[in-house]
């Protein structure tokens, strides 16, 4: 119990709430990079997944992407990004972390977008065509709205994974909440380690909850209700 009292004391210490290493700025750093990486990944993976799903080609690619995405250890990706980032003159810290996070976020978003569009009923698509809709309209006005909830599921899985993996960014010289854990380990300050873990865990769970609520709202508006995402089984970081 003494230990938990120390953790509580750490959280109530005003020194931990100020400056560039304080909880607010570390959290903001963490959230900002995670959001940025997830958005860039979504910008790349949603259009490609949706277009491939619409054309009906690339099923094999989609399956391989899930398998590869699941198998690759995120710590290895973030470490591998480092030498290449330095070689490219981008240095340590932000860029290797960002690159690794985008790479890790691509597979779940791509696969879910692909599957989402593929699982829109053929009869619905045929009906839309029969009503004289152009392919573009079918895609944008029929398939995309119906696929939206499942696409969002993919983005959720990716976002949770990104928030988790961003913690490891502290190992390649980046900031974020992982700093408390990594720095705490190196000076054997278990209180800081535990406090950092608590912050990271809460942030990851909050991300998951926030997306689930959004999904439910979207789903209630007539999307693909009750569908299980194939990417729900993505590995955490």
């Amino acid at each position: 119990m003494d230990f938990l009292a120390d953790v509580l004391a750490w959280f109530t210490d005003s020194a931990n709430w100020q400056g560039s290493t304080g909880i607010p700025s570390r959290t903001l750093e963490h959230v900002r990079l995670s959001a940025f990486a997830t958005m860039v990944a979504a910008g790349l993976a949603v259009p490609s997944g949706v277009l491939l799903g619409h054309s009906g080609r690339g099923g094999l690619i989609a399956v391989s992407v899930v398998n590869i995405g699941r198998a690759i250890p995120s710590f290895a990706v973030i470490a591998l990004a480092l030498p290449f980032s330095i070689r490219a003159g981008l240095g340590i810290g932000f860029w290797p972390t960002f690159l690794a996070l985008v790479l890790l976020a691509l597979p779940p978003i791509f696969t879910n977008s692909f599957t989402a569009v593929r699982s829109v009923g053929i009869d619905v698509v045929e009906a839309a065509r029969g009503m004289g809709m152009r392919e573009r309209q079918v895609l944008l006005e029929i398939e995309l709205p119906l696929a939206a909830p499942l696409i969002l599921t993919g983005i959720r899985v990716a976002a949770v994974q990104v928030v988790a993996t961003a913690t490891l960014g502290a190992l390649v010289g980046w900031g974020g909440l992982g700093r408390y854990i990594i720095d705490g380990f190196s000076v054997q300050d278990n209180v800081r380690v535990f406090a950092g873990a608590l912050l990271v865990a809460v942030l990851a769970i909050l991300t998951d909850v926030l997306f689930s609520v959004t999904e439910r709202i979207l789903g209630a508006r007539g999307g693909l209700r009750g569908r299980r995402s194939p990417a729900r089984m993505e590995r955490p970081a």
């Binding site: 230990f3 399956v63 899930v66 398998n67 590869i68 699941r70 198998a71 690759i72 250890p73 995120s74 710590f75 290895a76 990706v77 470490a79 591998l80 480092l82 030498p83 330095i86 070689r87 003159g89 240095g91 340590i92 949770v160 928030v163 988790a164 993996t165 913690t167 490891l168 502290a170 190992l171 390649v172 010289g173 992982g178 854990i181 990594i182 705490g184 380990f185 278990n190 209180v191 380690v193 535990f194 950092g196 873990a197 608590l198 990271v200 865990a201 990851a204 769970i205 998951d208 194939p230 089984m233 590995r235 955490p236 970081a237």
Partner: protein
């Protein structure tokens, strides 16, 4: 963690280093397997227990998947960090964390596997006088095997990836080389560790997928791929 800047002139791979450290690479690869094996083994035993409870008392399935789901969502480094104050920088800490991550995947697949057994088959067995335990062991489990095997594969590959992180809490495995490379600003071990852990995960994934197919010549596992 790099305090100094990495040298842009440092070659990505120094083959001489690899040649000199072959023995250590072998040892840590074996260690990686051991850490993975223990976690999947214990995780499977616990998941089987939880699944039996969830199958027997349906109401517990929701809470069981909720709790294991929360564990699954907690970032691995954070989960290890939670345990360090209590269990130290030990193998126990690593294994508790790793086992936690296998539970959701395994429970889901075991329950889905048993659920996929046709009621007609179950009734036939009961009609033949099978007891509940024999029904479970001799009918339901074998029929659920492909789905359970799929879960084991996903859990194993997941754990292989997560074992790399346990180097941060002082354990062995291929992550040790990655961490060593990061600490010494030395690309070669970093690349050796990363590339080997990726390769290991992919090879094991493919191998277990093959094994799965062998286990179920009559059907291909449909759930949770």
């Amino acid at each position: 963690m790099p305090q100094r800047a990495f040298l842009a002139t440092e070659p990505l791979i120094r083959w001489g280093w690899i040649w000199d450290h072959l023995e250590e690479i072998r040892t840590q690869t074996v260690e990686h397997f051991i850490l993975t094996g223990i976690a999947v083994g214990i995780g499977f035993a616990i998941a089987m227990g939880l699944s039996i409870v969830a199958l027997r008392f349906r109401r517990t399935y929701g809470p069981v998947t909720w709790v294991t789901g929360v564990l699954y969502t907690i970032p691995s480094l954070a989960l290890f960090a939670f345990l360090v104050p209590y269990t130290g920088l030990s193998r126990l800490t690593a294994e508790i964390g790793l086992v936690s991550y296998t539970l959701l995947i395994l429970v889901r697949n075991i329950v889905a596997g048993i659920d996929s057994v046709s009621p007609a088959v179950r009734e036939a067995a009961v009609g033949m006088g099978y007891s509940r335990a024999r029904l479970f062991l001799e009918i339901e489990l074998p029929l659920a095997l492909p789905v359970i095997a799929a879960g084991l594969r996903i859990a194993t590959v997941t754990v292989i990836g997560l074992v790399t992180v346990t180097s941060i809490i002082g354990q062995g495995g291929l992550g040790l080389f990655i961490l060593d490379g990061l600490r010494r600003d030395f690309y070669t071990p970093l690349i050796v560790g990363s590339v080997l852990s990726v390769a290991l995960a992919v090879v094991i994934d493919v191998a277990l997928a093959g094994l799965e197919r062998l286990l179920s010549p009559w059907s291909r596992a449909g759930v949770a791929r």
